[in-house]
Symmetry: D2
Subunit: 285 residues, 4 copies
């Protein structure tokens, strides 16, 4: 398959929108290779993802966005994003001391499984620098604390700007991100929380789970918003535990959940198959 | 297999307890058919379940409890329960208007799957009387409300006493049980909550789950304690959902979870394979 | 929502088909309330499900099928089905001696959960007649064996014809259906097999699973075709087991899987959300 | 906790064995920190795992095995293994070209999660040498084919001998191991098969799964025996798929299953919590 364009949109649902848009692509000789749509009938919102091959498409690539805005977006009160398959998104990894999510992501990256660039790993500790070096990825240490965050975060953001970063993955970055940074990457910061949210918000969820005596534990990946652990959920998964598990075995077993759940969410984000609305996600297959 | 005795116990862990107890059974010619034990090394507590055939056992059945108390319970600061396989526990079903858990339990009962008696179905509504009649089980309606609970619950308890009820299953009984009734049946009232506790405590958990945009929903069966939805968890299970689910589909799909999770918990209780400790359960296989 | 029409179709994928069909509905003032489509790009096949309100639709209900055939089906080499929401499908239940699937289905039916009629329960044994009577559903016993099948099955089919049965659910009917009967109800006979197909085809799958020492067991609902246990799979689910499980506990625990998996499949069939192609199913959400 | 000894045993079940053995440890001042047992009542076999602290134990460490053999093994027709917690098992990794299982294992190894040594990675291809170098583990390439296997495998075995390897993990080693090598490491070669065995034995299981139209795929780790894909199963897990999945997405999604399922099995093996019997495994918690 050649280069494709992907369109992700949502708007108030009205008869004929899908027809108009697919017509628009077809009339201009775009070969549609993916189409999926979903109508939230409770809120009356249409969500759509469309992908077509650029070869033979009669509208020049750099004018598609403008055309689309003029013809449809205003008319249908639409929010949309346009992406090209030959432009790899650039992802920054934020880590602290735990390495399981980092290894999992770097292994996929090294194997070429994901269509993404990783220009940097950012951390508040030096611990994982050897891992970054092993994989040949630049490692930047900003020893962020609550006290100096206002000073260091702007430096981090300057670095991310300079490196052309599009989105951030908090791969067990055990710090709270400032509202300023969140505002700079709206629905472009992905976190992994080591519980089945909204159960066990906050610190030490495995210990909370042990205390409560649950029979199943989980992990949740979500977009970061200003409300701690309360952003749109992208993916969750769980495993069964028993009375024989201790906080330590929960931590160990939970790591496998965390890395898989985070990596599933990141892939969906890279593939541009996630739409957010009302603090929730629509995930296309 | 002939009639068996089952012993469920927990006590501070000390070297040699298991040996002493299994010796006691063996020396008295009891053929052990089940033994399972678990040591909580964090709290230093031993949990044990032992089952042996009564045929040939040299201690008369009605003296086993006294022997055991004298020989071991005081010495090891032990709490224990003794059960005989030919004495079926008597279970009261409490229901309101929803029938899926009730049907599931009655189907198992009718099929002879469970070693239990159901002397009564108790409800605060008349709705499910026809179901009870269909299965030939006495149905008692006490139109309990917050206002008249203090008056009606004693009548309910008198009925349960009269019918020799050992434990209560709240099969979607949408009322809060009074502390008095809970105290009368300590860790003998099983509830099903339609969420993955501790997420979505309280009313309308499926609507809460929909609002939060979770990707997995669950159900939880637990013993009722004075703290609402906070008693020892017996069993949980989950299913994946998507953005396409509505509160209505969650309710529908959740019903299957609820009935299966509740029935698994009830079976474990009937089999006397649950020990409670520190607001948690130890579940033997 | 008023009465709706549902269209289920598949055809070789070509640009513009979806547009043409949704246009056709819209132009004739049909309010579309559901649309889902899927393109199998390996085989180049488009699958689509469309549902719209009949109120205000300008084509008379009894002419829609003909219009659709003339305008689209021939042109696009399309296979399609048209269903109206106020016409309840009529389902025959076939059972033998086990009652768990039967109870599960009848409980849903009694609770009004499914938009279906059950005009009869058919069995080769008398065992479950009391259950049918309890739920007020006519019970017909045909003591079918391998020897007399050729004689009795025509009588069964005559009964089904007379009762206007549209599809058959084998709710633990432990007999092989003849090719003639299968041909009479193509992809309209749903079976539940008590294993994770294609593992453990044939008899006594739980015993086979026990012998093999698997750590997970499953159940599979599928359409019946001439190849035993090899028809299009509709739904599967699994549970974890351990070395402590015996064939007996597997049978017990498997029953819960079987009834849930079968009921999920039947609901999808009733909702007309299943398309079959190449011995597989496309299941719409 | 100090150094411990672990005993894994199975024998024909007889009254009093557990008592005798725990007495033996206690009398000799061993502090038992783990005990689990399971009786297969169908075959009349007792399985037991016992772990105690060596400090203060009155039998010298190098004589425990002999004592145990003399006192119990012959008497009870027992097979047993004795392991010390300060002796790390030595694991050889066999790989071909796929790296996901390798990365997963090396990440855990690097993080110090497992109590194991990895003295070598063995492959029939050069592809993964850079990964081995990145993690600083010696990499040996034996370009084994069906034709030269008889010649090269003895060299491999000589290397494993020299490196003191105790067990082998086939981390996507796409070759069949010879009966000679299997005999050299009985129940000490762990394989990961990319299907839910016994479904889809042999080559290209994801393609087989796609062809069959299953709704769930799985992965299975098992000990290698002479029968291909038929050895004792250690661990299995599954994920749901849909009609939208292609062989390619199954391969991608299956990799996460494979690496987690393999790593769970390897950990259990390292912890000495697996007993094999009748081509099945008993897995202690």
């Amino acid at each position: 398959m050649g280069t494709t364009a992907s369109l992700l949109l949502h708007c108030p649902d009205r008869q004929g929108i899908v027809t108009e848009i697919t017509n628009f692509i077809s009339v201009n000789h775009g070969n549609i290779v993916y189409t999926d749509q979903y109508v939230d009938r409770i809120n009356g919102v249409l969500f759509m993802r469309l992908e077509w091959e650029l070869e033979g498409f009669t509208i020049p690539r750099d004018q598609i966005k403008e055309y689309f805005r003029t013809l449809f977006a205003a008319k249908f009160e639409m929010e949309f994003g346009l992406y090209f398959s030959d432009v790899k998104p650039r992802m920054a990894l934020f880590v602290s001391r735990q390495n399981h999510c980092l290894f999992d992501i770097l292994a996929r990256y090294t194997a070429g499984e994901w269509d993404v660039e990783i220009p940097c790993i950012v951390s508040n500790h030096e611990d994982l620098r050897p891992v970054a070096e092993r994989f040949g990825i630049p490692y930047y240490c900003f020893p962020v604390t609550r006290a100096n965050r206002d000073e260091l975060e702007p430096q981090e953001m300057a670095l991310l700007d300079e490196l052309g970063v599009n989105f951030i993955v908090l791969a067990k970055y055990m710090q709270v991100i400032s509202p300023e940074m969140i505002a700079r990457y709206p629905h472009n910061i992905i976190n992994i929380h080591h519980s089945f949210l909204p159960a066990f918000v906050g610190a030490k969820p495995y210990h909370q789970a042990f205390e409560r005596g649950v029979k199943i534990i989980g992990a949740t990946s979500h977009y970061v918003t200003e409300d701690l652990d309360a952003g749109p959920i992208i993916e969750q998964d769980v495993i069964r535990i028993t009375h024989k598990d201790t906080p330590e075995t929960l931590v160990y077993r939970g790591k496998d959940l965390e890395k898989i759940v985070l990596s599933r969410a990141v892939l969906k984000h890279i593939e541009r198959k996630i739409l957010t609305y009302n603090n929730k996600t629509v995930i296309f297959a």
